[in-house]
């Protein structure tokens, strides 16, 4: 009986979409392994690379998912990440501030940034897209104002953090030179995963978490049911600001430097991942687990294209879009079928 209920719930509406996403991911990955087996697509490291290369995106997507659930959107995160990296580099290199301090500062800056955007959206009721669009311009411009030129980070502590490998010594593969290779990940991945778990728990098991869904579902009703809609929204954008900065930090661990054009268009990737994971831009529906798979799917698509390795620049663009399209359409079709039932 209980089981039956569980399964029923699983297949209820959006959970159903989530299942589909996960299945599609495994299908895609297996396809990759099948196609590029001899090129070593099956290696554990290839899978881990998905996390290594997308640590920043994971965090950003988690934050974005929350915002989308409230029915809002935040297209400023790309620029905020860029600004964060630049600010980090600038403080450590030009101002000689210690790594720790710099990190704390950028996190604060990000949070404040979120606070301002949140205020404009929640209390002045200005459309999120516009506010965050302005935020996008602002952050990008500030990056240029901090420094037109690229700044490379040479701060040891920071670089140590960046280079800190965690080896899985219990798994061993041999490359063609017969060297033993242990799969590995970096600190950034750990951070990303922890953030993810926290947000998952937060969304499922706290009053605030649930009230976010309520606001997204129907703002008017949420208000009438006695929720403080404004404060909820404000908090969400503040949290997202913080997460954007954190993502920026993780991002910076990879790029270990700052420059004006950094992470341009990142917001789109976050939104795309989140939506592939079954989040609705109309609000009320979404789940970080989905977003996780959204990110992995995006990563896999890129890996497959790299392994394929003969596409010209423009075909790369088109191929990515085609696969993206495939997913989105698939989902909508499944959703339609589900509705019929």
């Amino acid at each position: 009986m209980n089981i039956a209920k569980k399964t029923k719930e699983k297949l209820d509406g959006n959970n159903f979409l989530l299942m589909i996403t996960i299945l599609l991911f495994f299908a895609l990955y297996l396809a990759g392994m099948f196609a590029f087996h001899e090129k070593g697509f099956g290696k554990p490291q290839v899978f881990l690379n998905l996390f290594i290369s997308n640590a920043g995106l994971l965090i950003a997507a988690a934050g974005m998912t929350m915002v989308l659930i409230t029915g809002g959107i935040d297209i400023s995160i790309g620029s905020v990440i860029g600004m964060t990296c630049m600010l980090l580099a600038w403080m450590m290199e030009k101002k000689g501030i210690s790594a720790g301090a710099s990190i704390v500062i950028v996190l604060i800056v990000g949070t404040v940034f979120g606070l301002v955007q949140g205020f404009l959206i929640a209390y002045l009721k200005i459309q999120p897209f516009i506010v965050t669009l302005a935020g996008m311009f602002f952050a990008r411009g500030m990056t240029a104002i901090i420094s037109k030129d690229m700044i490379t980070i040479t701060n040891e502590t920071f670089l140590r953090m960046a280079g800190e490998k965690i080896n899985f010594n219990f798994i061993t593969t041999y490359n063609k030179k017969g060297m033993a290779i242990h799969p590995y990940i970096y600190v950034s991945v750990i951070i990303a995963i922890i953030v993810f778990i926290l947000i998952f728990l937060f969304l499922k098991y706290t009053k605030f978490g649930r009230s976010i869904y309520a606001v997204g579902g129907n703002e008017q009703s949420a208000l009438l049911m006695g929720l403080n809609v404004r404060r909820i929204k404000l908090r969400v954008y503040v949290m997202n600001g913080f997460l954007a900065a954190l993502a920026g930090f993780v991002f910076c661990l990879n790029s270990s430097g700052g420059f004006v054009e950094q992470a341009r268009g990142f917001e789109m990737e976050a939104i795309a991942s989140s939506v592939i994971g079954g989040t609705l831009l109309t609000g009320g529906v979404g789940n970080v687990i989905g977003s996780l798979f959204g990110v992995l799917i995006k990563g896999t698509i890129e890996s497959i294209i790299t392994f394929q390795g003969t596409l010209s620049s423009w075909w790369t663009k088109i191929a990515i879009a085609a696969l993206l399209c495939f997913f989105i359409v698939m989902q909508s079709l499944f959703a339609a079928v589900k509705k019929k039932k």
Binding site: F137, G141, A272, A321, A335
Partner: protein, 348 residues
């Protein structure tokens, strides 16, 4: 009585957008007194900041018109217009070819471009209206692929068109003192206005945008209407693309209309339109578009470096939308009342 009148004026939807535009222009007048100076230069063309603003904002205006309808009907934005511009340009140039003479008649090139642009719009429309995919995501596909497709057409190289009259569309016709893009923009706006005015489309789009379920029950074909608006948006993007191409008599697939979708959306919002769909004002969007261009042109005029320009743009945008936000007005009124009450207490 007089006060009533003022109140009435401020109620008028376009009041704030217009005020904002005027503010931007006034600011310029103060910073650069020559701002409004318009002269005829040696090759008989109007010359001056104002002309630049209107001329440069042409593409944006055209895009904003299309975008307004998308937003209104589907409560979503078409972020692929920039890419569509590139595709249209690419098609146009590859049809006309970079020889000393056109490979095909001029109008064929233009028509081809517009046709493809409409197809792009139709694709988006299909995804949004028929498959019920969320607009921003649906258009994300073309947003990603578009420039790729454009490069595929051009082979990744910048195609130059050598025939001189190709430049006319983007610059000026011989013996005409006004840049051609301005005419095109005005044309598009007027035609769209008539289309909305003379048919029930205006009411349909709003109805569908506000409540598509109810609209269906009262006999509107929501799907078709949304589909049409996206096709139209594609067409607008196509026109804008051809103009932009003609400006530089070549197709630079990577940069034509880069990030213009954002400005277009911004224009719609600055025009006092809600991105939540429903009621809309075309004029508002046009004003919004001009405001944006006025802003960047004037910032250039002040020698703000292009990479810092966004900061100022952001600040102004926020100021404008804050001015427009009803909540803000409420807030202000409250303060006024409070002050009045305080004074009252003091008196007592």
């Amino acid at each position: 009585m007089n006060r009533k009148k003022i109140k009435h004026i401020t109620k008028y939807r376009l009041f704030w957008p217009i005020v904002c535009l005027i503010l931007v222009l006034l600011f310029n007048l103060i910073k650069t007194p020559t701002f409004f100076k318009v002269s005829i230069n040696s090759n008989g063309v109007l010359y001056g900041y104002i002309i630049d603003i209107i001329n440069r904002s042409s593409e944006l205006i055209i895009l904003a018109v299309g975008m307004t309808l998308c937003v209104a009907s589907s409560a979503g934005t078409d972020i692929s217009v920039g890419a569509t511009m590139a595709v249209a340009g690419a098609v146009c140039c590859s049809i006309l070819g970079s020889g000393e003479a056109y490979n095909a008649p001029y109008f064929v090139g233009i028509l081809g471009a517009l046709l493809v642009a409409v197809l792009c719009g139709a694709w988006n429309g299909f995804l949004v209206a028929k498959l019920k995919i969320q607009p921003m995501v649906a258009t994300l596909i073309l947003f990603t692929a578009g420039r790729g497709i454009a490069q595929l057409i051009t082979g990744g190289n910048i195609l130059y068109i050598k025939v001189d009259n190709f430049k006319y569309l983007g610059s000026t016709l011989p013996h005409v003192p006004v840049p051609t893009p301005i005419f095109v923009a005005i044309g598009v706006v007027i035609l769209t206005y008539l289309l909305l005015k003379k048919t029930a489309l205006n009411m349909y789009i709003q109805s569908v945008g506000i409540n598509s379920k109810a609209s269906r029950l009262l006999g509107l074909n929501s799907t078709l209407i949304i589909f049409l608006t996206y096709m139209f948006c594609g067409l607008c993007a196509g026109i804008a693309g051809v103009i932009a191409t003609s400006r530089i008599y070549s197709i630079d697939a990577n940069n034509v209309g880069l990030n213009l979708e954002l400005d277009a959306i911004l224009a719609v919002a600055l025009g006092g339109n809600s991105l939540g769909g429903g009621k809309f004002s075309l004029a508002g969007s046009v004003i919004g578009a001009i405001t944006i261009q006025a802003l960047s042109t004037s910032l250039y005029a002040m020698g703000v470096s292009a990479d810092q320009l966004p900061v100022y743009k952001a600040v102004v945008v926020i100021l404008i939308v804050t001015l427009q936000s009803p909540e803000f007005k409420k807030f202000v009124n409250h303060q006024k009342q409070k002050r009045v009450e305080k004074i009252g207490e003091k008196v007592a």
